[in-house]
Symmetry: C2
Subunit: 346 residues, 2 copies
């Protein structure tokens, strides 16, 4: 549509209501900003949907909304986070991510320059993950009816033949593996929100984990019962979810769970428990004890699993409690977050 | 997770920030409201993604964000609209919709009772369409940072073997078929927004069109060049998009395009051109002239295509103009909407 193409003023321009109205301004925004950033053959076709070939087999689908505040934070922005998060939800099934969709809800007045940084980060995260954002949608709401930009991504992926991870396969004696240290994402967001600075900058761990997962599946196969990424609600919520779904209890070793000193210090300052803080580049795997050593070795050999550790074991427990055993041998129940909240962490 | 299940107060309760925080309150909201409304085996598993079998072939994926205001309108609400819209984007490729995802961004303080009406309408629309909402996400933002609820749906579907609709296949002489009267959805929204009442209530045409599409594909096969649903921007924007993508001009017959008398009257009152007003249950098909009669007959035989009409023809035109020929033989160019806007119509 070269005839109607005017350049967007990406430096000084802003999104207005016409950019969501289905007319020429919207076509210009989509072509000039999103297609530019995501650049692929599907979007270039300009259809309201995109087509791709699939082999016979088993696929997975997932979606996530992103409302993180602030939109830009150390280690990423809402765009990279949206790609990583959706890739990870696919990967947690053991699947290989293929294609993403992206729906943007934008507040009137949002600067093109910020939108471009976000879209560029999405495009880069997608290319790094070896996937494509093949379809999208843009809506604009009046000033004061949203908060900058919200992004909802959905994704599809393909499962390796025969792989069927499921919480109900977990058994007493299974090991719990954690891929790295806790709390980096949530603390990076909260400290930016509170305008805190530390000697060591705390950077979000936001990353695509499907490469790590592929290595784990190659090493452990069916020995992996389930995987989960401890995002909102942190390790505490995720382990309680797993306990409910598997009908088991868990005993975790406190001294096996790593929290970086700077993150621990920030948590103390902010009154947060690292077990409840969101992560965006970590995973928990429940693994049959006989496969645990091989899977842990595969994790440690991957850049995103260098600090992986065996943090505990599944136990038979009608109460489905998650217990933390301290280094002194004491124990406590790790509950879901209930009172306090960390809104808009992702 | 029966142990932790308290009943939500669906009558008087409201969404608060804890319902988006990844803890127990969120689990309760999801189980007590969304699972209840969407009820299917996938959601019951409680994973962050859902798996399904596919045969070898070609699939399509699409997404849309919904920010319609008001949330409830004659003929539907944001929930039914979100399902219909995504089903239709899949159907416009000639594909059969299979599975949907749904991402909710909810403003703190939003009543559970409204959320339940919306979720119930989504569940009902999905069941009517023979599809399932298999995965979802819920985020909550602070009061004043959204407007009630925004929904982003994504969907996947499967293409009949060999079918590849594409604008670049359109040729001069192809016919333009329209499935029914224009403007119902947009006028239903705008009159509700302006608190206008008419003798005849104007009801949104929001509906799933994949059944109509299947009948059209059975009748016309490869003779169908492309289909498009004239949503935001109306028939005018959609025909201009098709003109750009097909590198053709179009000549439409004004007297072949139906607008219900009540809709025409409301448009006059509201200062709207029905050609620019959104539809949510109509489609445009560009069809080879030799297949047009059969496809039109199939449309008329379907409840959602009863008022279908042949409204014009594709012509060779370097300017890719969409022209309207009036009943008196005069002509005018139908341009995209540019100045005025109808924000948040879907």
């Amino acid at each position: 549509m070269s005839m109607h193409q005017r350049r967007l003023d990406l430096k000084n321009g802003c999104v207005d209501l016409s950019h969501g109205a289905g007319g020429r301004a919207m076509a210009q925004l989509i072509a000039g900003l999103f297609h530019e950033a995501f650049g692929n053959e599907w979007l270039a076709r300009g259809n309201d949907q995109s087509a791709f070939d699939v082999a016979a087999g088993r696929m997975v689908m997932t979606t996530d909304g992103y409302v993180v505040s602030p939109l830009f934070f150390p280690g990423g922005n809402i765009g990279s986070l949206a790609v990583h998060g959706t890739v990870n939800d696919i990967a947690m099934a053991g699947a290989r991510p293929l294609y993403l969709s992206a729906s943007f809800i934008i507040e009137e007045g949002f600067p093109f320059s910020d939108l471009k940084r976000i879209a560029d980060a999405m495009g880069e995260a997608a290319r790094e993950a070896g996937i494509a954002i093949i379809t999208g949608d843009t809506k604009v709401v009046e000033r004061g009816k949203a908060d900058g930009v919200f992004i909802s991504t959905a994704g599809v992926g393909v499962l390796p033949e025969g792989l069927d991870l499921s919480a109900d396969k977990a058994k007493p004696g299974d090991r719990v593996l954690l891929s790295g240290s806790l709390g980096d994402h949530g603390v990076a967001i909260m400290s930016r929100r509170q305008n805190l600075t530390f000697d060591t900058e705390i950077i979000s761990d936001s990353a695509s984990l499907h490469g790590l997962v592929a290595d784990m599946v190659a090493a452990g196969g069916d020995g992996i019962r389930l995987m989960r990424d401890p995002t909102r609600g942190g390790l505490a919520a995720t382990m309680n979810e797993i306990a409910q779904q598997s009908n088991l209890g868990f005993r975790l070793q406190e001294d096996a769970i790593r929290v970086k000193p700077a993150v621990a210090a920030a948590c103390e300052l902010l009154g947060l428990d690292p077990l409840h803080v969101a992560n965006e580049g970590k995973l928990i795997a429940v693994v049959a004890s006989e496969a645990a050593a091989a899977v842990l070795a595969a994790m440690k050999a991957h850049p995103l699993g260098r600090d992986a550790a065996d943090i505990g074991t599944a136990v038979s427990d009608d109460h489905r409690f998650v217990q933390m055993v301290t280094s002194f041998g004491g124990g406590r129940i790790v509950d879901w977050l209930s009172g306090e909240q960390l809104p808009r962490i992702c």
